[in-house]
């Protein structure tokens, strides 16, 4: 912990969600702008108060510079902006980079916003691109490797090395579906059992359909500013960014240093060190859950349980209410919604709402410290952010 880091210097003062799930007839730019309006209203600010915009690419949108196109659509001319691209990890990097920009004086009030329409907005051209774009054209794509397959091979090896079972993987989906049932607007709320998961049909072994995340439309937005400015504005309950870390270990799945231990070990260690807290101090977590096995590996790499014990940890009820680290209490990508790169922003929305004490019947009591971990591209990209209330500064 050092005064030179951004620890506690930047706060989230506004959050907003667009409609999520199946949202036909709305473009990614509309979804982003809708979420942004709500985040501004939540913060009590006007769009003219924004001077920074961070975003990421949307598959259903033709704009390469999505953050720039967004600003035009929203009628603003920011003096700090970027369209970030590290796949699923982009969400947490938006918080880390937004905080760094504010701490470093590049911007005063940053809007972090992203959206996509994977469910209803993809033309055949764009759908094809979204299926194949992220794998190597020479070394991976000719073999017919869906992105799901790269994650599947890591989970499969985890089963082989540590005895993780198909039932333990399925339990992740069961727990998160239970969480989603208490989240207004969640895409999938019908209760499921371990048998339902195991009987839902293969996608790519060891993953069945219900081991895989959803495909959705939707967006989310956040307003970040300095702790000092949050006080000037009289924000009721700012949520502070306490630590951030990232790690990029490979591009190709065959060059991943280990299939069962990921860059999340490093990114989370950096975030914990900056925050001055450890995994045992966290009250609530948003753990990237593109697939069930991803959650099990991340619970280990984020330090919530020892390597190899993630399956038992989940089966013992440690990732839900009453357990060690209630995770994905909104239902996650598996049951709440998964609109591509913005998907992990829903985890941020949930963890911030939990820390504000706004989660009603799914509130984790006494939640003051939370972690969100975003990742992507077959564990190539990892980013962690730690958030806390005023009491944790």
């Amino acid at each position: 912990m050092s005064d030179s880091t951004l620890r506690g210097k930047v706060a989230v003062i506004g959050i907003g969600l667009s409609p999520v799930g199946k949202v036909p007839g709305r473009s990614p730019l509309w979804l982003a702008a809708d979420a942004a309006k709500k985040a501004l209203a939540d913060a009590g600010l006007e769009k003219s108060d924004l001077d920074g915009v961070l975003s990421c690419h949307a598959f259903a949108s033709p704009f390469h510079r999505f953050s720039v196109a967004f600003s035009e659509y929203f009628g603003i001319q920011p003096t700090f902006s970027n369209t970030l691209q590290v796949s699923g990890a982009t969400a947490a990097t938006m918080f880390n980079i937004g905080a760094a920009a504010i701490h470093g004086g590049l911007a005063k009030v940053v809007l972090a916003v992203a959206s996509d329409s994977l469910m209803t907005g993809l033309t055949p051209d764009l759908a094809l691109r979204s299926l194949t774009e992220s794998r190597d054209q020479q070394y991976e794509m000719p073999f017919g490797i869906p992105v799901a397959n790269t994650f599947a091979m890591t989970a499969h090896r985890h089963m082989k090395e540590f005895g993780t079972t198909a039932e333990q993987l399925a339990e992740v989906a069961v727990v998160q579906r239970r969480h989603a049932a208490r989240t207004p607007g969640a895409q999938q709320t019908t209760p499921i059992t371990v048998d339902d998961v195991l009987n839902s049909g293969w996608v790519t072994t060891p993953y069945h359909k219900l081991d895989c995340s959803l495909i959705s439309d939707g967006g989310a937005a956040f307003i970040l500013t300095s702790a000092e400015h949050a006080r000037e504005l009289g924000i009721a309950k700012p949520i502070y960014i306490l630590g951030g870390g990232e790690c990029y270990t490979h591009e190709h799945i065959f060059l991943m240093p280990s299939l069962t231990t990921t860059g999340a070990v490093t990114s989370s260690r950096m975030a914990y060190e900056m925050a001055g807290y450890g995994p045992k101090d966290m009250h609530v977590a948003g753990v990237y859950d593109c697939f069930t096995g991803t959650v099990i590996m991340m619970l280990e790499d984020l330090g919530f349980c020892p390597k190899g014990e993630g399956g038992r940890f989940v089966a013992d009820g440690q990732m839900t209410y009453g357990g060690q680290i209630p995770s994905n209490t909104h239902g996650g990508l598996l049951s709440f919604a998964h609109s591509g790169m913005p998907g992990s922003l829903f985890h941020f929305h949930e963890v911030i709402a939990q820390l504000r004490g706004q989660c009603g019947e799914r509130q984790v009591r006494g939640a003051e410290l939370g972690l969100v971990h975003s990742l992507g591209a077959g564990f190539a990209t990892n980013a962690t952010t730690i958030l806390g209330t005023e009491n944790t500064l």
Binding site: Y139, P142, M153, W202, V203, T204, L255
Partner: protein, 139 residues
């Protein structure tokens, strides 16, 4: 060409300056690995310089073709129409005898026969006049 036609066609590699030798070698029936003359690092993914030490003192040598399955996944839902008729097929991560790991698919047997640590050997499978893909069968 419409998007639908495009989607039915399997993606084939377009060699670049770094990889031309690899694809030429496969056409001749060998899998060329890059050996670093300075640090002894061996790489499958072809680069203009050694990934470990940065040296450009690299030479191509044919791999023995022997390897072992480190992990695998049997694809039941294809990534697009081009691979639909092939399902189920097994994607393999193969550890080559020389050290590097590569991704490929299983050939010459049923995908459900693939197991962890299974010994496999290279099969150079001709796709057309320009492309030969490296696949693996049980040893």
């Amino acid at each position: 060409m419409t998007a639908t036609d495009d989607a039915r066609r399997k993606p084939l590699p377009t060699p670049d300056a770094d990889s031309a030798a690899l694809w030429r070698g496969l056409r001749d029936g060998v899998l060329l690995l890059q050996h670093c003359g300075d640090c002894r690092h061996v790489q499958y993914y072809q680069q203009g310089m050694c990934r470990q030490c940065g040296s450009e003192n690299l030479s191509h040598r044919a791999a023995s073709g022997r390897g072992r399955v480190h992990s695998f996944s049997v694809v039941h839902r294809a990534p697009g129409p081009a691979f639909k008729d092939d399902t189920p097929y097994a994607v393999l991560l193969v550890d080559l005898e020389e050290g590097p790991r590569m991704v490929s698919t299983y050939t010459g047997g049923k995908p459900e026969d693939v197991t962890f640590d299974m010994d496999v050997v290279l099969v150079c499978e001709r796709i057309d006049d320009t492309t030969t893909l490296p696949r693996f069968r049980r040893a």
